[in-house]
C-alpha cells in the first residue's frame, strides 16, 4: 500500500515541491524501497551519454516507433532517475507497461538503475569534458563497473581505449563496434590516449579522431580487438559510409558522427530491428551546419557546445581544412562557471593556424584569443567582412542568433 502511495506522490509531482527535511528524507528512502518493487519491460536499454547529445536515443526511439512498439524513454538526463522510473510505473502492479524502456544516463544516474534487468547498455564514449565534470576517465569506468551486472550485455565503441577497457573488465557479454583500420595522416601526439591497464602510451596502427583508432599496448595484450560491427569505408565528401556490405547515408561533415550512427546500428541489430527501418533512420540523421546569406556573404553557422571537447574538436578539424575566413566566440565560457576555461586546453586549435583570417567575436572571448595564440593561431578582433564570399562561424546557439542580428 505504501509503495502505491509513493508512486502516486511521484506521479502528482509532490516531491518537486519543498518539503520539510524529515518528511523529504522519509519519502526519499521510501522511494528507493519502492523502486525495488518496480518490474521492468524485457527490453530495457540504457545509453551512457554524458554529453547529452541524445543522438543514439532519438534514432532508436524513431526506429522502435516505426516498428509499432510502445516505448517509454526519458527526455532529460537527471542525476537520479528514481522519480522518472516511479512515475512510469503502474500504481498497483508496479509494472512499467511498455515494450521498451530506453534511458539515457550520466554516471551519477547509473545508481538508480538495477542493471540485472537491463538488456543492453550502450557506451559510445566516456566523458572527456572538463567542465564541472570529473576529468578522470577511470572514475567513470569505476562507476560503470560498480553498477553493472555480469548479465548486462554491453555494446561498446571499442575505438575508444577507455570504453574498450570495460570490455576487458566485464565478466558478461560485450559487442564492440568501430571503424576499420586504415592509414591516416598522423595527428598531433599530444592527444594520444594511454593504456588503461598500465598507463603507458598506446601504439596506434591508425587514428581517426583524437585518441580513437586501432591501437595496441606495447606492454601487455590490451588492444582494440575484433569488432562485431565495423564500418568498412567512409567517404565524407560524398556523404556515405559502408557497413556490413551496404552503403548508408552520412548527412554530416564530421567523421566522429559515424560513431553515433554505428552505435545506433549496433544496438538496433542486437534488437533485431528491420534493416530497412535502420537504414531510413540513419538517412534522416542530419548534422549539417545552417547557412545564411547577408549582404552577399554566405555565413556557415556551426553550433558550438561550450565544454564539449569532442564536439568542438570535430568542428575545428573540419573548419581548419577550408580556406575561408573564420569567426569564433562566445558571450559566456560556460553556463555553470565563470572561470573554468580548462576544457579549451583539451582542444587542438592548431588546424586553424593555416587560416589567414580568424576573428574573435564577443568581449568575453578574450580568453579564447589567449588560448588560440598559444596554439599559434593568428587571430584578431572581428571586423566587418564585406564583398562576396563565404565565412565559417562557430558559436553557441544563442550567440549565433545575436551575431546574425548584428550582421543584419
Amino acid at each position: 500500500m505504501k509503495y502505491s502511495i509513493c508512486i502516486i506522490m511521484h506521479k502528482l509531482g509532490l516531491f518537486r515541491k519543498k518539503l520539510n527535511t524529515k518528511v523529504y528524507n522519509y519519502f526519499n528512502n521510501l522511494s528507493k524501497e519502492t523502486l525495488k518493487e518496480v518490474l521492468y519491460p524485457k527490453n530495457f536499454i540504457v545509453i551512457l551519454d554524458e554529453d547529452e547529445n541524445y543522438y543514439i536515443q532519438n534514432m532508436l526511439i524513431k526506429a522502435l516507433k516505426r516498428e509499432n512498439k510502445k516505448v517509454i524513454y526519458n527526455k532529460k538526463i537527471e542525476d537520479d532517475l528514481t522519480n522518472f522510473l516511479l512515475k512510469s510505473s503502474n500504481t498497483l502492479s508496479f509494472i512499467i507497461e511498455s515494450d521498451y524502456l530506453v534511458l539515457t544516463v550520466n554516471k551519477k544516474s547509473l545508481k538508480s538503475i538495477d542493471f540485472k534487468y537491463v538488456k543492453y547498455f550502450l557506451i559510445n564514449d566516456i566523458n572527456q569534458n572538463y567542465s564541472y565534470k570529473n576529468p578522470d576517465e577511470e572514475v567513470v569506468i569505476k562507476e560503470v563497473l560498480s553498477n553493472i551486472n555480469y548479465k548486462t550485455n554491453l555494446i561498446l565503441n571499442i575505438d575508444n581505449p577507455y570504453v574498450n577497457f570495460l570490455k576487458h573488465m566485464h565478466k558478461g557479454k560485450s559487442i564492440g563496434y568501430g571503424l576499420k583500420q586504415r592509414s591516416v595522416k598522423s595527428l598531433n601526439k599530444d592527444y594520444l590516449f594511454k593504456c588503461p591497464v598500465c598507463h603507458e602510451n598506446l601504439t596506434y596502427k591508425s587514428r581517426y579522431f583524437q585518441g580513437f583508432g586501432s591501437y595496441i599496448c606495447p606492454n601487455n595484450d590490451f588492444e582494440t580487438g575484433i569488432k562485431t560491427f565495423e564500418v568498412e569505408k567512409i567517404n565524407l565528401d560524398e556523404h556515405y559510409f559502408k557497413l556490413d556490405g551496404n552503403n548508408y547515408k552520412l548527412n554530416s561533415n564530421y567523421l566522429y558522427d559515424i560513431y553515433f550512427l554505428l552505435g545506433f546500428y549496433s544496438l538496433s541489430n542486437s534488437l533485431n530491428i528491420d534493416l530497412k527501418i535502420i537504414s531510413s533512420v540513419i538517412s534522416e540523421f542530419s548534422n549539417f551546419h545552417k547557412t545564411v546569406e547577408i549582404n552577399n556573404v554566405k555565413y556557415n553557422l556551426f553550433e558550438a557546445f561550450n565544454g564539449n571537447v569532442l564536439d568542438y574538436q570535430k568542428k575545428i578539424d573540419f573548419i581548419g581544412k577550408s580556406n575561408k575566413p573564420f569567426i569564433i566566440g562566445f558571450s559566456k565560457i560556460l553556463d555553470c562557471s565563470l572561470t573554468d576555461s580548462s576544457w579549451l586546453y583539451k582542444i587542438n586549435f592548431r588546424p586553424l593556424s593555416k587560416l589567414k583570417d580568424v576573428f574573435i567575436f564577443f568581449d568575453d572571448a578574450m580568453m579564447l584569443e589567449v588560448r588560440l595564440k598559444l596554439d599559434e593561431v593568428k587571430c584578431r578582433d572581428y571586423n566587418k567582412i564585406s564583398g562576396d564570399g563565404e565565412v565559417n562561424v562557430l558559436m553557441p546557439k544563442n550567440d549565433l542568433k545575436k551575431f546574425v542580428e548584428v550582421l543584419k
Binding site: Y130, S341, Y345, M367
Partner: protein, 234 residues
C-alpha cells in the same frame, strides 16, 4: 644567464590545461628580459635539483599522482634543501597534496606523503567544484587570483602559511602551492609576473617587463572588470 625551468613529470602531470603554464612562463620571462630553457622531465628520468632555478609540478590524474609520489619520495632531502636554498616551486592542483604529511582517504586509509610541510589532505565524499576568486595581497592593486576548483579533497592543519584566505594554498620562501586550476599562470598574468620578478631578484637579473598589448593582461583586466563583484568573492 638563462633561467632554468624543469617541468616535473610532464608525461604524467598535464590536467586542466596546466601544461600551457610553461608557455606563459617562457613568454613572460623573455618579455622581462632574460633567456630561458625548459626541461620536460618524464617519470623515468633522474632529477638533478642543482641544475634548475624553478620546479613546476601541475595536476595529475589519481593513478599518476601515486606514481609521482612514489618517485618523488626518493628526492625528499633534495626537495627540502632546494626549498631552503630559495629555489622556486610552483605546485598546482592535486600535486599540492604530495608535499604535506599524509592523505587520509574517505575509507580511512592513511597514505604517507613527502612530509615536507605539516598540512594534511582529507578525501571528501563529494566533489568540490566551484569558481574561485582569491585576494593575493602581494599583488596590491591587481589582487585577485582567478581560478577554478575541481577536486574531492580538502587541505587541513594549514593555518599559518596560506597564500589565500582558505586553506587550499601554501607559501614558504619561494614554494608556492595551490589546490586550484586555471590554467593558473595563463589566467593570472600579474601573479605570473610577481613570481618572475621574485625569481629575477633571486638570480640577480634585471627585471623589465615590456607590457604593450599583452593579450593575457587584457583578458584578465576585462574579466575582473566584468565579473568580480563583492558577492562572488570567497
Amino acid at each position: 644567464m638563462k633561467v632554468r625551468i624543469i617541468y616535473l613529470y610532464s608525461d604524467l602531470c598535464h590536467e586542466f590545461g596546466e601544461e600551457y603554464n610553461i608557455k606563459m612562463l617562457v613568454k613572460y620571462i623573455k618579455l622581462s628580459g632574460a633567456d630561458v630553457q625548459v626541461k620536460y622531465h618524464t617519470s623515468k628520468e633522474i632529477i638533478d635539483f642543482s641544475k634548475y632555478d624553478l620546479f613546476y609540478l601541475p595536476s595529475s590524474k589519481k593513478y599518476s599522482q601515486n606514481l609521482v609520489l612514489n618517485d618523488l619520495s626518493r628526492y625528499k632531502r633534495d626537495i627540502k634543501k632546494a626549498i631552503n636554498d630559495g629555489k622556486f616551486f610552483i605546485v598546482l592542483g592535486n600535486s599540492m597534496e604530495l608535499f604535506g604529511r599524509k592523505i587520509r582517504t574517505k575509507k580511512g586509509l592513511s597514505i604517507p606523503c613527502l612530509d615536507i610541510f605539516t598540512y594534511q589532505t582529507r578525501e571528501e565524499k563529494n566533489e568540490i567544484v566551484s569558481d574561485a576568486f582569491y585576494d593575493f595581497n602581494p599583488l596590491l592593486e591587481h589582487k585577485k587570483i582567478i581560478a577554478f576548483k575541481n577536486k574531492n579533497t580538502n587541505i587541513v592543519h594549514n593555518e599559518k602559511n596560506r597564500m589565500f584566505l582558505l586553506s587550499d594554498s601554501y607559501n614558504e620562501k619561494n614554494f608556492f602551492a595551490m589546490e586550484l586550476v586555471g590554467p593558473i599562470l595563463v589566467r593570472n598574468p600579474y601573479f605570473t609576473l610577481y613570481i618572475i620578478e621574485r625569481l629575477f631578484n633571486n638570480l640577480g637579473l634585471e627585471f623589465s617587463f615590456k607590457e604593450k598589448n599583452v593579450v593575457e593582461i587584457d583578458a584578465y583586466n576585462a574579466f575582473v572588470l566584468k565579473y568580480i563583484t563583492n558577492k562572488n568573492l570567497d
